[in-house]
């Protein structure tokens, strides 16, 4: 009975509920479209960044939540995506919208190549290798032979794109819509991927790798591919992040970013696609609040929240919503038919 209400909201079994779901969808669409016209530019920028982080967390979630692999190195793929975008725009004069798919492709390839040994790097070993990758990445970006492209410690500055076709939008508003549109496509792809035959194979590998391979699933291939796709998501987010911040530098992509993405994943709910949005909003706004209390405490607050979530709410925000929904349904059930307590 747990998922009753949530399921009905999504599928819509009765006419009323279908209407309700549609109304909810329209309402959120109005909010999403209307928001940049009422909010201040800085808030628009922050929301854009939250959506970008959400895409990266979605990538991490495909890997951890659905395939059961760990990565502490997704800051590295975020960095590769960001630098791909920045270098293409700065040195090859590529239009910003082309840099996003290219960044995704490059991360897919590097992720797949790094994931290939994943058939030997089981679980915790992959976490170790990616931990090292996260630490190595800023150093690689500062490496002298690469400096003509990466700009070394200085990084690369990018110009914020204007709205095309003479649309009456300022750059912040345009970037918001650009990001939200890409995010919508990425989320749609993720939902379809997870519901497909491939998605079921991923979950089977997570739940029981031996049984999965006995059923004819090529575990090694699927694991490497998942790592690649996960890196692709994070790379796209990195490219969007570079365009939004208008600047890339090696020290923006330290292990701290990996920790943040991890916090977002756990808080949103491991294995929940809508939860990644909560995670994105969370890692953007909560550290700001914590830093207002005291600089340097942001990390500690993140850590304490991680521990609290693991002990008190292991399913994250998504689980909390499900729990409240089921409680709510039960209360309503009791109110409508007193005495029929389930």
């Amino acid at each position: 009975m747990k998922q009753d209400l949530a399921d009905k909201l999504a599928v819509g079994t009765t006419r009323d509920q279908r209407l309700g779901a549609r109304a909810l969808f329209l309402l959120s669409l109005v909010v999403i479209v209307g928001l940049p016209f009422v909010a201040k530019n800085f808030l628009i920028f922050q929301i854009t960044m939250a959506v970008i982080y959400a895409i990266a967390i979605l990538g991490l979630n495909l890997l951890t939540g659905f395939n059961g692999q760990f990565s502490l190195g997704h800051s590295a793929f975020f960095a590769i995506g960001a630098y791909t975008a920045a270098i293409l725009m700065e040195h090859a004069d590529v239009a910003y919208y082309w840099t996003v798919p290219v960044a995704g492709l490059i991360c897919l390839i590097t992720g797949f190549a790094f994931g290939l040994p994943a058939l030997r790097l089981e679980g915790i070993y992959l976490a170790l290798a990616t931990f090292a990758l996260a630490y190595a990445m800023p150093q690689l970006l500062k490496w002298t032979p690469l400096e003509p492209w990466t700009g070394g410690v200085q990084g690369v500055v990018i110009i914020k794109p204007d709205a095309p076709f003479g649309l009456p939008l300022n750059p912040d508003q345009w970037l918001y819509f650009f990001t939200v549109a890409i995010a919508a496509v990425m989320y749609l792809c993720a939902v379809n991927l997870v519901r497909s035959r491939t998605g079921r194979a991923l979950v089977a590998i997570r739940d029981n790798p031996i049984a999965a391979s006995a059923m004819g699933i090529n575990t090694a291939l699927y694991k490497s591919l998942t790592f690649g796709v996960s890196a692709l998501y994070t790379g796209v987010a990195g490219a969007l992040g570079a365009i939004a911040v208008q600047f890339v530098a090696p020290d923006s992509f330290t292990f701290g970013l990996s920790i943040n993405l991890f916090v977002g994943l756990v808080v949103g709910g491991v294995g929940s696609i809508p939860g990644t949005l909560v995670g994105g909003l969370f890692i953007l706004f909560v550290p700001n609040v914590a830093e207002e209390i005291s600089k340097g405490l942001a990390g500690a607050v993140g850590g304490i929240i991680l521990i609290a979530v693991i002990y008190l709410m292991p399913t994250g925000a998504a689980g909390l919503v499900r729990l409240i929904a089921s409680r709510f349904a039960r209360v309503i059930g009791v109110l409508i038919k007193p005495g029929s307590q389930r």
């Binding site: 502490l72 915790i124 170790l128 290798a129 090292a132 190595a136 002298t144 005291s294 340097g296 991680l306």
Partner: protein, 291 residues
Amino acid sequence: MELILHQVLAGLATGAIYACLALAVVMIYQAIDGFNFAQGEMAMFSTFIAWQLIQWGVPYWAAFFATLVVSFMAGIIIERALFAPIHNAPVLSHVVVFIAMFAILNSLAGFIWDYNVKTFPTPFGSRPLLGNGLISSHDGGMIGVTVIMLVLLYLFFRHTRIGLAMRAAAANPESARLAGIRVAWMIALGWGMAAGIGAVAGMLIAPVVFLEPNMMASVLLYGFAAAVLGGLTSPGGAVLGGFIVGVIENLAGTIPYVGGELKLTIALVIIVAVLVVRPGGLLGQRIVNRV
């Protein structure tokens, strides 16, 4: 030749520190089958405690042993409070709590002692040792302290009842429990010892890398590389691995553009290469999964 000899000796000195950290990593790996990603931050925090004591006027060696005791207790408390309740939880929970500890200790150290780089005293001085200055006396001290600690640990695990009990608890928890060994407390004791060993490593390396919240990053990575290279099931292997990666790091340091700038990448390459080529490490057991 002189240069290579110099690099090898210097490599053995830093290798001693990597060996300590690798040993701490292996002890916790034996206890809970996971990597303590916060091992470096625990060591860093201990080092800050020692620094604070010295600032308050405590003599070096008194501060050294006081820090050792505090770290040991803290290790036990962390195990009892954070890890015992989730002993049977999925691996994800362990990783999450390690990452949480990493974030908390790192940011707390920055909050208490700020991010400015501090110098840390050495009790051995920094005079050149061995006449022509191949290594400094602090390097010699690092090797000396590490070797003494390793010998003590060896004697402890070989020749004391409690050392035997700890080995039994790690090798076969079920049988150990039936034989009357309190396995949960053995695990906690292992954590305490790992925290203490880490504290020694932190206090010895601090005069070289200087004291600040992120000082252990490269040391921890090389510690992991050493543990993986030596074999995660073998404490002796971890020590051997520590000295080997220390020498590799220093020899690679002579290659232009690579050594100085890509230190962490070298550690990454060692870790991935060992896991791909020889996952069991040099002296570790190969773990075979029965279906």
